[in-house]
Point group: C2
Chain length 348, copies 2
């Protein structure tokens, strides 16, 4: 009898502990679902820019088209490499003339979910963004006029623009180039990370360490700037709200202030998405921190003032690594044959 | 009766002309089959380097891997772009430090069928070739030691090398990198051009102009240096055998002579493959001629002394355009996440 009693007691206790644990698990899942959203399986629709298959295909060709650059060497994919988490492995991007750009290249993956584009949000959408690097002297260093000349020189492009923008008298334009690139980029999303599966209700998709990392991430305020579908990209936040990070990290960059001249924008940046973050070192707008552990420690000091210990930081990093999703499968496009009318590259 | 007689005569004449034409067609096909071979549908086997699926996949990753370069910016695909006919749209390739290389980048497509690699044949096969640009100061500017360090820093690569080179104690080597790239490159072939279909027996695959171009190509001696499966790439030939082309085209390059110091190698080069030639301007080792019509005219003057008229040159160009085959469909590889041990890029 005694044995049975003990066994029953143990059973009851175990059941109650398990129930308590399940409750806590349930709470974590519910808290996470309130703060984050999974990456959708399908590309979201873009208002005013219908994503037809031919427009997506044209956009892909343009994304991989080095002849959009003055040198005919640099394409969107050079700095936003679909094989490297949608970014490059550079402190700040290297472009025309081997010049270094001013900021680290953000990933193109899931960027359609950002409220705006670039570190300072100066482009309202991906179409507007796409026009920037094509013209930037330290990136592709081209002009809209020359781009249109390049595209018009190849009958295959002219035909594809006609199909992608039906009913337009003159569809081969710099704006339409950007629109086609936008619908392609909107397909470059990374669903089904372990964290996404968790958010969709599979409580076992994250392991214990990752769950503890998620708890710390939410409890200590990381989630304030890194929430929503993209775990970031939804607002502008001051870098160094508790304590300015080192001058090496700031790198003399006042962020959104340079754009708006508004005092409250000083040193503020669009919070970067943390999805797939393990794939895209280095970190921060200045790209000076290569180690993800160090990047999280910098955030702890400058944004949270939370005094998280090394073990906790490692748990957060373990959680962040669980956000790496299915990388986009992209068939490399076959680009059109040039003609005698196609402008020649210029390295100057 | 008279009417019937005339009709019968006309019929007889027409049949006899058609028969004569068919004979000529048949002769053209037979002559072409004697001089050329179609691109095979499958990658050829490489002696001593078995092409397993995992090795091909690893080779593809390495082919697209910018972190094999000192800057982490330049991959094989930068200058041998699978979307641009396996070459770049550059006079001579641009590499590390925005430096220009000495010669125009030959296409990687069908290059497995060449007797050797590089314009002067200094690499006996694609594996040996692959080691060149990785180390060249004006290309990827890296060292074998640093490449091995890069590869060993990423567990996914280490694992793939183990699988691709089973039974080797230390499979992550510079040589094995080159071997993996070789088996991938051997898949980058372009079968089923109109000319290939013709060679396989479909006499209607070429139109009349293309057939006349083919006839001229064979009758006037182009075929002497551009025959076989690759329409070139099978030997070394003096540039300017009849008359030296302009100094602009020669560009002070003595070709294979610089390698062998043999008098008979002066100004001799491996004849480039003419397949897909419309996709890969500019032409010649110096890359100074962008117009295919002009390139054929230069060959007429300097190699044939044939005095072909403009109409004939156009027919030859029409024939050359019929050699454009099915371009390889390449799924862009997903490259491994770097680790803290992965060497950082250096732009110096």
């Amino acid at each position: 009898m005694k044995k049975t009693y003990v066994a029953a007691l143990v059973f009851t206790l175990a059941a109650s502990v398990a129930g308590y644990a399940a409750d806590k698990e349930d709470t974590l899942l519910k808290d996470a679902q309130a703060a984050f959203k999974p990456i959708p399986d399908k590309a979201p629709a873009i208002k005013g820019n219908e994503a037809t298959p031919v427009k997506i295909e044209l956009g892909k060709m343009l994304y991989f088209e080095p002849r959009l650059s003055k040198s005919s060497l640099i394409s969107c994919n050079t700095c936003h490499n679909v094989g490297l988490g949608g970014a490059d492995y550079q402190q700040t991007s290297t472009g025309h003339g081997w010049k270094k750009g001013p900021r680290n290249a953000p990933t193109v993956f899931n960027s359609v979910f950002n409220l705006a584009q670039f570190w300072d949000g100066r482009a309202k959408d991906l179409a507007e963004q796409a026009k920037g690097p094509v013209q930037a002297s330290v990136e592709m260093n081209n002009t809209p006029e020359n781009v249109v000349k390049v595209l018009n020189s190849m009958p295959e492009y002219v035909n594809l623009f006609k199909q992608a923008f039906p009913g337009q008298a003159d569809p081969v334009t710099f704006d339409n180039m950007a629109k086609a690139i936008e619908v392609f980029e909107a397909t470059l999303n990374t669903p089904d990370s372990k964290f996404d599966l968790f958010l969709k209700g599979d409580a076992q998709a994250l392991n214990q360490e990752e769950k503890e990392g998620l708890k710390l991430f939410m409890a200590h305020g990381c989630v304030s700037c890194h929430s929503g579908v993209n775990m970031g990209g939804d607002g502008y936040y001051e870098l160094g709200v508790v304590k300015k990070p080192s001058e090496k990290i700031i790198a003399g960059d006042t962020g959104r202030f340079a754009l708006t001249q508004a005092k409250h924008d000083e040193f503020s940046f669009k919070s970067p998405s943390l999805r797939n973050i393990e794939l895209t070192p280095p970190y921060f707008h200045s790209g000076v921190v290569w180690d993800l552990n160090e990047a999280v420690a910098v955030m702890n000091d400058s944004q949270l003032g939370a005094d998280l210990k090394e073990g906790d930081l490692h748990k957060i990093v373990a959680f962040l690594k669980a956000t790496t999703g299915k990388q986009p499968q992209v068939m490399h496009p076959i680009l059109p044959a040039p003609t005698n009318a196609t402008p020649k590259p210029s390295l100057d």
